[in-house]
Symmetry: none
Subunit: 210 residues, 4 copies
DNA sequence: TATGAATGAGATTTCATTCAT
DNA sequence: TATGAATGAAATCTCATTCAT
């Protein structure tokens, strides 16, 4: 009964892909709008237009499906990132902020999913999410620290700064309820953070020339 | 099923601590640590040391119990607030930040509860939370606008500023993982926000004398 | 979710017992007539005239229910036994055979249950059944060995003799399809076994005087 | 669903071992070790190294596959038998016992299969097994009766004797857990049965000269 | 008020069977 | 003949809610 492998995961080398993606898309849509427990495998199957059993051909369990969505989203998010290590620190910070806002702004369902997955989650998901969050944190954090090391940013607790930026991005995406485009929000946020970070440093002027 | 009146809400004329409070406390502890659906009425009853049927004497349903916790928490949060309309705007903003951090720092379970209750929730809770969030938003927002109107803060989209502050507070409370006390975090955050907001205004100096 | 104890197992100190017994009785009836997997909890509940959920109040799982039946049956079987260590060995052997036949003859469903539970069973049940079978084996076996040691029975492999007796009892109970009463069968079987065992010993006469 | 003809039963004109045999072998191995319901068509296909759909080319259904195994085994068992009507009754009885033990001892999986298929089985299998069992019963039974008619065996209920022998064979095969070879067991069993049957007859001596 | 045994709707998962290739 | 992805009926178990005591 349990001596079979964790589900053969059908090989679709050929072009008839699609089904797995359809399932992920349907599931994402639902998980983003309802609590985990209220999303039934029936409803996922219905929305993906496959039979219920088919879900289990591609995902071992409901939890695995959920994890699949997360992983899928994280991959897309990672690909979306593009840091230019040559550029000015301030520049790079602005780009990072803009990138994040842009990505989640165009992946609203995934944003919602993450937004509610904050802390009290099942052990299995926890790892995946923690790691992803940590990567985001580290990226911003090292940028901040580099800025401080170079004297472009004033001295401050880099953790506080990082969390401020990350928290702000999240809040803007979730609660900024006026019609807007992401670029404006990025502008406003970057500016405020840069002002807050460069106030009183020699490079104050320079950082804002752009 | 739901055409009975909203539950008699037993009166505790006598002095003993109140079963209702015990139930709320137990439920908060559990809801803060597990997703809604995984908290069973059985577990609440066990932790509160009452019989399962008793829960229904005080709360019409599981959902009502959850709502009770939220309302209870919001009341405490509101009481905790103390704004001094006479004080300087910058001063008041700092106080507001410090107050928030202090309150949630000493009500960790309630913080966790709110943290995961972000968007995809049952209709009934939604209203309660939305309203509370709105009140917080409005408070910070009007403070910011006042500051701008008086020329203490530079011009910027007050919504962006407000959400930045609120989002930052949330992120700091949830993810600042070093040992710390709340006051330090408030200091750091206020300072950064004030720098960001006053940069380039006449009152730049004045705002930072404190 | 799994930090609760293995199910409180309702305490019925008072006279209103019955329900657990009713469930056991219903389940025994069904398990004796259908393979394990074909007995549904629904059908057990229906036959016991309780709600499905009630089954889980008394038994943690379907497997536990099955185990409950086994244990219950084994207890009854053990109580039914009554060996008189003072009596003659041949006498005791006859009594043991008669006892067994009598018990299972009046507990047909339990007999059927055991009859199919032979070797390829779930790990959990295995222990319970093995132990019970072993006890039966040991009892007969020691009786045989004692008889041989005293020279009442002729020398032979006591395991072969024991298994012959046990196997014969089982076959008679299951496949003797003529109308009969158990006592006759016991007589016939005992006689044949005793003849086979005493042939050629000094005590040949003596063993058959009864 | 079942109004299609009983499956074309592919002809293997060519020499290669035959997929059907491979399937039977694989299925026997599995059915002997797990309850019917736990043997999945997937696992059979995997072990037989054919695709799942292929199973249905050779067997109409899972039940038909099971029946195929039984029939296959019964055929082999029948072929294994070899009675010499010229020989002495006692001789023939000993041979029959030895034959049975030998056959099942070298077809352990098939033994296990039968051992658990005792009474509570699906209607279709029941017939096949009953008939086979009946044949075995009749064979031993007529031998016993012949012995009694000739005065070689003492008077007794031939059904009891037959079932004793059959039951003993089964028990020895399944539960004799010491290292041994089948011939010894046959010796011991035959001897005991013959002692038990000839005790007190004129031919007592003669029957044991061998 | 307080209890906790009883209920039964509903969720996840399995797997024999089908069928397009 | 042979394949294996797809199907969906059916089974176990959970738990909010009720109600007799």
């Amino acid at each position: 009964m349990s001596q079979s492998e964790p589900a053969p995961a059908p090989q679709f080398a050929n072009g008839r892909a699609g089904k797995r993606d359809r399932i992920i898309a349907a599931a994402l849509r639902l998980f983003a709008r309802q609590p985990y427990q209220e999303v039934t495998m029936d409803s996922v199957a219905r929305l993906a237009a496959v039979a219920k059993g088919t879900l289990y051909l591609y995902f071992e369990s409901k939890e695995a499906l959920y994890l699949g969505i997360l992983t899928d989203g994280f991959e897309k998010a990672t690909q979306h990132n593009a840091d230019d290590p040559q550029a000015q620190v301030a520049e790079r910070l602005h780009h990072a902020i803009a990138n994040s806002i842009e990505f989640y702004d165009s992946h609203r369902d995934f944003l919602q999913l993450l937004a509610t997955e904050e802390p009290r989650i099942a052990a299995a998901r926890s790892r995946v999410i923690q790691e992803f969050r940590q990567r985001g944190f580290d990226f911003f954090s090292s940028l901040i620290e580099e800025g401080m090391a170079r004297g472009v940013f004033r001295r401050a607790d880099p953790r506080v700064v990082t969390l401020t930026i990350i928290g702000a991005i999240r809040a803007l995406l979730l609660y900024y309820d006026q019609p807007h485009d992401g670029a404006e929000l990025s502008q406003e946020l970057s500016r405020m953070m840069l002002e807050g970070l460069t106030a009183g440093t020699r490079n104050h002027r320079k950082a804002h020339t752009k």
